[in-house]
Assembly symmetry: C2
Homo-oligomer: 293 residues x 2
């Protein structure tokens, strides 16, 4: 229908043009592009008014499900692969790969010293995680901040179980030593379902998708004059490692957590034997001159 | 960067594929298309993580601004031209043009009889609105339901002023008579700003857009075996008729509201003279066989 095409094109032009006086050129660019893509989507898929109303109701419910410890819009972004796409286009290559922030970085991690335990519950099997932070050329980065958060062996973050877990369980904000190293005691996190009691859960159900994420530990690494890095390490062989509900698995981020059965090593790390142990490097990229400006 | 392109393409494929088991084929189609367009937008405009976080915060705030009488997501859809685009792609041609529903159809209109007044406040200048509903071939449609809502001469809907206006002021649900006609007494609505005390208002401010809509009266017309129609009539020469904040003006919907200074006609319509008068036809399309199935 050529008349509809003409009318539709005129609307897009008018809306994009309405942003012409925006002071911030980047905001103008992002809004203009968003309008063009949204309008193209509507022209291509022709949603009915009822479908538009359902979309409005859905987005409203997503917003209303959010509170201090629940971020349903991040969940939505995650299950649509939007979060992972944003991470991917910001990847610079060379360093450790990034992955999604996820919706549970909602409270500040308590400052802890290398060697501390982030398991405040006394989980079943102890685990030692040992990290070395380096720059792209391999040189260790001392004094880098490493923010860590993970769920319990039962698959829950502290904020999901305020009556069971103390706030800060599974969380720690560390600094690397002179050799770029830090380690901490914890438990091996479990695979877990993303929260399904909200509209995003209803979406997964309507599309027959499972809500599970494979077991992982979150990291945000910030070192001076380097680009910050948001990533996970995934526990090798975890259930759902091939079908993460939020599409965040990258092969390079999968790490072995072998069982160590050795009293002497256990003593060094102040855990009981046998225990699980993960060791890996995180490499961050120097800021480019452009980014540093 | 070809590697990023490859990784990004793989994510889109994986997400679209994740919807493969959705029972409802239309839901599968709409979600797959949405994911493809959103991902393309991200690849083209490369939002930073900070920009993504701001978008999440903005959408969350939009959802949290909604309540029983405030629909901020419809406002957002409106100011981005999304609502108007959805109306446009659903236009079938032939009948009266449609336009946006807007965010104020949030309460049921009280049933009224032809000739009733929807002005429960006693506004300044009386106005008579006379409508004839017909099918595409010109034949009058008796018993059609006509839902009407409008703001006051001051530019506010009842739900915006619960302490000033009785609920139902400016609203009426009418039925056409045997000749397809109905009329009602009211006031001429004013141009008005869409609500600016929420995140959508902040968006308009950041983009230096004004929030005003030209004066209009809303209609939803439903007649048996005809497609329902959502539209406005716009008051000719209203301020902002050329720059509606929600892009909803269509030339064919602009109607003259001349002043009538004639005691006899005023008496017929039970108003005082002088008064304003708008007369127009609304034409709805018969349902196609396909749509009727």
């Amino acid at each position: 229908m050529p008349d509809i095409d003409k009318a539709a094109g005129a609307i897009t032009t008018e809306v994009v043009e309405s942003f012409r006086d925006t002071d911030d050129p980047r905001l103008r660019e992002l809004l203009g592009g968003l309008v063009q893509h949204l309008h193209r989507y509507i022209r291509e898929y022709r949603p009915t008014l009822e479908e538009w109303e359902r979309a409005v109701e859905f987005l409203t419910a997503v917003g209303q499900k959010c509170d201090d410890t629940r971020q349903e819009f991040i969940l939505l972004s995650d299950v649509l692969g939007v979060s992972m796409m944003v991470e991917t286009v910001n990847e610079q290559g060379g360093g450790t790969e990034s992955t999604v922030l996820g919706p549970f970085h909602v409270v500040e991690s308590p400052a802890r010293n290398s060697g501390d335990s982030i398991d405040l519950m006394g989980g079943g099997t102890p685990c030692v995680v040992s990290v070395r932070v380096a720059s792209a050329d391999g040189s260790p980065l001392a004094g880098a901040s490493v923010d860590v958060w993970q769920c319990t062996e039962e698959g829950f973050y502290d904020v999901q179980q305020p009556d069971v877990q103390p706030l800060g369980n599974g969380r720690g904000l560390f600094r690397t030593d002179g050799e770029g190293r830090l380690w901490f005691r914890t438990v091996v996190p479990s695979h877990y379902p993303i929260p399904t009691d909200g509209p995003v859960g209803a979406l997964l159900e309507a599309t027959k998708r499972h809500p599970y994420r494979p077991a992982h530990i979150h990291f945000i690494v910030e070192a001076e004059k380097h680009r910050p890095l948001t990533t996970h390490i995934f526990v090798a062989n975890s259930q759902y490692i091939d079908s993460d509900a939020v599409f965040a698995v990258k092969e390079s981020l999968v790490v072995d957590f072998p069982t160590v059965d050795d009293q002497e090593t256990a003593g060094q790390y102040r855990v009981t034997s046998p225990f699980r142990m993960a060791e890996f490097d995180i490499v961050v990229e120097p800021e480019t001159e452009e980014a540093a400006r």
